[in-house]
């Protein structure tokens, strides 16, 4: 029990694409909810998703009344010569009393630091800061308080980084979709559709996606290219190029990554011991049923670890991509 008592309670940072999902996350036990505005200033600029200014104000009030925080993701890269909507997004996040803004672009971070010193700044995973030197630069130069680590580090590497960047906090992904590319640098979606998560806030935009049902199963196309075929009973995945099946040596297989979801519930004790400040759940594009299920599972998991109890056996298979789960780079089990 003494060991459990020494552990620091990490914040659970949960996604919300809509006001209803924000309420679901808070009600399910989220410490923080992260959201985005309804434009290309955030990396989930999907049709019908995200918050108007009025909705964000109401969402922040709902969360604060229940002791939860709201973080605003403004984590795409402003277009050259057209930074206005990004600047406005930062100004509105500060005006609405968001608890922090999650930023990626170094120019926007400088702008926010200079014009809105009261706004707490977190460094987005899109900035791909993965070593103490890079993290300390953002902290010392712009007052960044927390960094969301890219999904390329092992638990041991995270544990080694934390004492070297203190008091800067680290936040790591614990569940959800995975990107195999260098965060904020991937051009695959842009190559096929002309739009990318980095500049437009959308990977594989829905307007470029087509599904066709046949007797053999379902075919998914992106930008007019067939990128995958799933047999009738085979679980499907997102229509992204990195999770496409490609034919090499007459055999179709996944070259970059199989459709799978990150799930770290089994290694939560290790991540807590590594000194991580916040656990992030991916999935602002998912429905509120997903948000509620995952938040409840990780709330139970974190609370169990801190209480020195065994991890709860919670099955999240039904909401994972491709029906598969991995601990990803945290364990690098493929090595």
């Amino acid at each position: 029990m003494a060991q459990a008592a020494a552990l620091t309670r990490p914040e659970l940072v949960c996604p919300a694409g809509t006001p209803a999902a924000l309420r679901s996350a808070v009600d399910a036990g989220a410490d923080c909810v992260y959201v985005g505005f309804r434009d290309e200033t955030n990396a989930r600029n999907f049709p019908g998703l995200n918050f108007s200014r009025k909705e964000l104000g109401e969402g922040i009030a709902y969360a604060h009344e229940r002791g939860a925080k709201v973080l605003v993701a403004i984590n795409t890269f402003p277009h050259a010569g057209k930074p206005d909507i990004w600047h406005q997004a930062v100004a509105d996040a500060a005006r609405l009393k968001a608890d922090a803004a999650i930023l990626a672009d170094i120019g926007l971070i400088e702008h926010a630091h200079r014009l809105h010193p009261e706004l707490r700044l977190h460094l987005s995973v899109q900035a791909a800061a993965s070593n103490p030197e890079a993290i300390r630069f953002y902290a010392e130069r712009f007052g960044v308080k927390r960094v969301v680590l890219p999904r390329v580090l092992t638990v041991a590497e995270i544990a080694a980084i934390n004492p070297r960047i203190a008091p800067v906090e680290t936040e790591v992904f614990v569940f959800g979709g995975l990107c195999v590319m260098a965060e904020g640098r991937c051009a695959l979606s842009s190559y096929v559709t002309g739009q990318s998560p980095n500049m437009n806030g959308v990977c594989s935009p829905a307007a470029d996606v087509r599904y066709t049902e046949t007797h053999e199963g379902i075919t998914s196309e992106l930008g007019g290219f067939t990128i995958n075929k799933f047999r009738a009973t085979e679980p499907a995945g997102y229509p992204t190029l990195c999770k496409g099946r490609f034919i090499t040596h007459d055999k179709a297989s996944y070259l970059f990554e199989e459709p799978t979801s990150l799930n770290t519930i089994a290694i939560l004790p290790d991540l807590i011991r590594a000194g991580v400040t916040a656990f992030k759940i991916e999935g602002r594009q998912r429905g509120r049923a997903y948000v509620a299920a995952v938040v409840q599972a990780f709330r139970a998991g974190v609370d169990a670890v801190l209480a020195g109890q065994p991890l709860p056996d919670i099955d999240l298979d039904r909401i994972t991509e491709g029906g598969k789960q991995t601990t990803g780079a945290y364990e690098k089990a493929w090595r």
Binding site: T18, P19, L49, H215, G217
Partner: protein, 226 residues
Amino acid sequence: MSQSPVRAPARPVAPPFSPVLLLGLALRPLNPTLLQPVFDTMLRMIRRRHPDILERMADYGDKAVCIDPVDLPFVILLEPNPDEPRLTVRREVDPAEIAATIRGPLEMLIALAEGKVDGDALFFSRRLVIEGDTEVVVALRNAIDGAGIDLIEDISVELGPLARPFRGLAGATLGLIDRMKADFETLRSSLIAPAVKDADSQGARIAQLEGEIKQLRKAARRGGAE
């Protein structure tokens, strides 16, 4: 956009054996237009209680979506024009008049509308079929999920003083449906029991043969090595 007829998709979604399926069979002789007042009332209620749905769909006002409950003998055509939305029940729709189709069992579509299940998860598990313009489907899914629809609560509020008896009636009806579903599952299990038994014994036989083949291959390899 898919050009296949709406009620004859390339890979029909098999409706689950459920009370809804029986209801669908019973409704087959009924002219769907007789149900139209129900959908008109539902649309008025949604516009009053959840105006944000049409607001989130504003960019897709001219894109009609066919909602196809596979266990019922009709489809629902949603035209999300913010100024003049329409929810029309039809026996079938002309593919040329729709941008996209969402297809699945009624119970699942209701659960999706109420945010009780995740749309991506249904798609991953292949229980939900999407055809046509994916963008309008994603927008509709997000708009509906974000509205926080609770059908029984929404109808109760609309009924004013009748809300309380309605809630009681709805609760009793849902309880009855749950019991019927359990009975249907028992019936289904009973009907397919002989087939399951055959499949189990075939599976066991296949496993035995695979074991024998493995042993033979091992023996052959040993023989080759010697």
